[in-house]
Subunit: 185 residues, 4 copies
DNA sequence: CATGAATGAGCCTTCATTCAT
DNA sequence: AATGAATGAAGGCTCATTCAT
């Protein structure tokens, strides 16, 4: 049975995501991750120079950057983009582990500058890019609306209301955010 | 200069908020908190049975529960409540320490059931209570809108856009959230 | 039973000297030192910020600086100083632990700049000071002779010849070093 | 380009001397030696059963045994031997790496019996052999003088005085050691 | 011969917590 | 109330060594 290099590394990352999501980055001991990945503790440090490096790798993956990127790349515009992003969000964060991981990563912001940078990119560059595609020219209201949109998604993820399913939520959210701007015109 | 009991306890909590906001709950050593508060490490454990207890106390205070409560108690209705909450939010979280503390507390959710309970109360009970006051009967759209509102606030706090000040943001946000529902009627 | 602060610290240092002399600085685990001192491992780090700091403290004490200083302070001159130093040497390093410790410390020179500095002081400043007191004006031959003297002592310590006792050795060594210079005059 | 067996082994030893002299035997990781030698870590263990074995090989080479041997074999006598040894010493230890290596090896004495044996041979057998060749019959004074000689060399190596070059030092040292004994006759 | 992934023991260090004073 | 010395349990990380390829 041949394992390619990436295999073990990927297995460690998966294990780390599981363990980190359960214990948080700083209460999760490396040996638990190793155990979960079925490798020795030492091997974790063969693939990652330090726990910090592993944390950053996992934290990066927990952010929704690729979701936004892939929706932007699809060349969508208007509310279609929001729908795309909303759907991607829900897809990614329906996994409770991903959900709690996102929270831990957001808290990491203050501590790891690598994450700060990633968050800056997400919350400023990407968010503005989306705003333009959705509302045309950049207006204050448009940018506030986009924050309402992203915030709404985050809120849903944080604590899913029992009687509103993903689709319904996204549709309503898009409506709220879009229609207001439309009506104003 | 004699200090009464409450004084010292409060001083420790203040110090803890400062230190926790900087290092996160789990990377912040108790001795730093003691030093910041100007007391001995032992004394911290006289006022709080354990670090966990101190964490919970600080975490509780970092949530916006009292803001919502006080706005509800004022007997406001409609968009006035949202404005009140928005203003309270901005007031509380203009302090960067409070901001980062809120993130850390949210991440705590998975780990400390005391915080889970608090968050449940916030995200379900309180949020629904507000929804009713604002939109009258509880509708799906209303509840989604309220999440857009809270999420928007969170988003603003997470990373303040340079060219949108607090007042403007809140006003626009309330508009977006309210008008859509109004227009639909 | 009251123990003054220095007591524990001193006990740790003593234990460290014992353990270091046996295992060398880098193969000696701190927990062995703690055990030897009858304290917990953690306490070692209460008194010394790091193992490195403890090493430096012990290494400093293993050098013969105070011997030379005390002989210089006694106001002796000529061969009396050499005799004083020789006697002090023998007194200090008759303890095998001290002997091996000195070797370890000398090896440390390349690694810890604190020790390099100490050795510089010993091998340059002090050595020249002694040379002047012994041979009057500083001559090449005088300074070589002093190195022969110190080197001779070191050599004796390194491996004590079975049939030459301390006194005899020092006397002969002083003779060799002094007489030659005297005869030259 | 094919390299024969000895080549690689020697290259590893050379690398080890470099790395050991810089970090000391116990703080020098094998992987650094391998890197320095341009081979894989595994290969080091193909040529040396263990790090210990490599240490011993390097330590042996760092001692001045061959110098003394070769001077003895040349059939010299009297001060000529001392001059020969002095010259050899200076030749070997003008390299700072060799110098620091010698210190590390001397410290090894307490830990590795293989080195203890080597040092015994050096400090007792060889030293007495030289003493006889230089001073004729073995006298206390002669043996002390020889220690002054070797010690003086060591001292020079330990910290080279800026204004005394190798030749001058050796000549003076030989003088001091020899003349005294001569004058006594 | 040669590689480098994999292992596991062990070390330094931190830190929450206790307790005598 | 208050202090800070003392403890002990982990935790992150290094590194010699092995082994499949």
């Amino acid at each position: 049975m041949i394992k390619d290099k990436g295999d073990v590394r990927e297995r460690i990352i998966s294990a780390a995501m599981k363990v980190f999501s359960r214990y948080g980055f700083f209460k999760a001991p490396v040996h638990l991750i190793a155990k979960e990945a079925g490798v020795s503790k030492g091997l974790v440090f063969w693939y990652f120079r330090s726990k910090r490096e592993l944390i950053i790798e996992v934290a990066r993956r927990s952010l929704p950057l690729e979701i936004i990127d892939s929706c932007l790349e699809m060349g969508l515009n208007g509310e279609k983009i929001l729908e795309c992003i909303g759907k991607g969000y829900m897809e990614k964060y329906k996994d409770p582990a991903q959900r709690s991981l996102l929270l831990h990563t957001m808290a990491l912001e203050t501590l790891y500058e690598e994450i700060t940078r990633e968050m800056n990119c997400l919350c400023e560059e990407k968010l503005n890019e989306v705003a333009e595609k959705v509302f045309g020219k950049s207006t204050i209201k448009g940018r506030v609306a986009l924050r309402a949109f992203f915030g709404g998604l985050m809120c849903y993820i944080l604590r899913k209301p029992k009687d509103i399913d993903e689709n319904t939520f996204v549709k309503n959210l898009v409506d709220i955010v879009i229609n207001d701007v439309k009506n104003k015109r």
